[in-house]
Symmetry: C2
Subunit: 205 residues, 2 copies
Amino acid sequence: METALTKGEKSSQVILQAAFNLFVEQGYHGTSMRQIAQRADIALGGIYNHFSSKEDIFTEVFLNFHPVHELIVELEDVERESVAEAVRLTGHAIQQKLVGQGDFIKLIFVEIVEFRAKHFPVLFKSLFPKAIAIAQGVFSARGKLRPYELPVMVFGFFGIMFGYFFVRAISRESDFLDGGLPDLDKLIDIFLYGILDEKPEGGTS
Amino acid sequence: METALTKGEKSSQVILQAAFNLFVEQGYHGTSMRQIAQRADIALGGIYNHFSSKEDIFTEVFLNFHPVHELIVELEDVERESVAEAVRLTGHAIQQKLVGQGDFIKLIFVEIVEFRAKHFPVLFKSLFPKAIAIAQGVFSARGKLRPYELPVMVFGFFGIMFGYFFVRAISRESDFLDGGLPDLDKLIDIFLYGILDEKPEGGTS
DNA sequence: CTATGATAAACGAACGTTCGTTCATAAATG
DNA sequence: CATTTATGAACGAACGTTCGTTTATCATAG
């Protein structure tokens, strides 16, 4: 047994994973402690040995138990040969990390609707400095840019990515698009044409 | 009294409005029938004279009681002198209708998370033909376009708008941005640079 | 290597409360 | 007066949490 976790720590992780899955499947108020207990294979009362309340579990899940922290670390190492390549690699890293790891965006929906985004400032403040540094790195890579302020470009890129995730989240649940998801690379290309002063090299179309 | 509504119809509308507000404030499972009754100023049991269940209320709210239907009608009349102007006017109309009328986007979050988007195909199918017609009209207005497929451009625009609403929804609840919302016109400009073969006239920067 | 005992963890019945819904009855409507 | 609408008490089920108890864990003592 090479696990460095005590039994209690192991149980906490199992509970958080079960809660994460249930929260994105049915929301916070739509998930009961009994469901969490059942999916974590732990007795109902046992949960309270590790967490003081249901909301305590959500707070822990929202602040720590998701892939955004790993994502930030990965993005710090992204190649920055040119703006176009930096943006493309960043987009793909986000897609792989957030889409690959299930419906992370839905956890944010839960936070906004069921908690009025009250935990968000805490998460945001812990990510903000690193995110700004990454953005500056990406958009100051070699390449002539139109004179947009950094936040405008960040939100533009952000919008393209979240629009993509949003459509994915809906169409995964009920595929009203006949599987016709938009091509992320083409969306990124539109963004690149939008911010670059000249045609970006290596486009998809 | 010039209202053409019977007492029952009037009550139905009051109930739907109360439910709409509560659902976007606290989600579906976070809202109780007693809260709806109280805010609509109707006795608890009286609700069931108009709706057969709590979910029936949500379905009605989600499919009919929101501003998207009016929005579609407005968009059909948008000026289409050039692609740039058509896109800008469309963006502003969406902003005014959806942001002005409160947090409509949060109703979609509730639908995705708490109902797994199960009502979405119904809404989508009722809007799809008109939406396609509008999109074709907007993007075939006078102006040379890069050779993107229509769905790619629609989703790109959609993403820009969605990202804007998303940031608004978060920062309205807990203003972690110090009120520094992105400028929608600049975001639309990025999109226009992205799809147009030449500089769009009348930009903001 | 085993025995011990304090602590940590797991258990599931039970508590008080709130939930969505129903019901008998009364009031308002037209 | 027949029908629609409003009322709020009542129902059983489900909720989050607590409780007394049992079981597991693991450093230390023998």
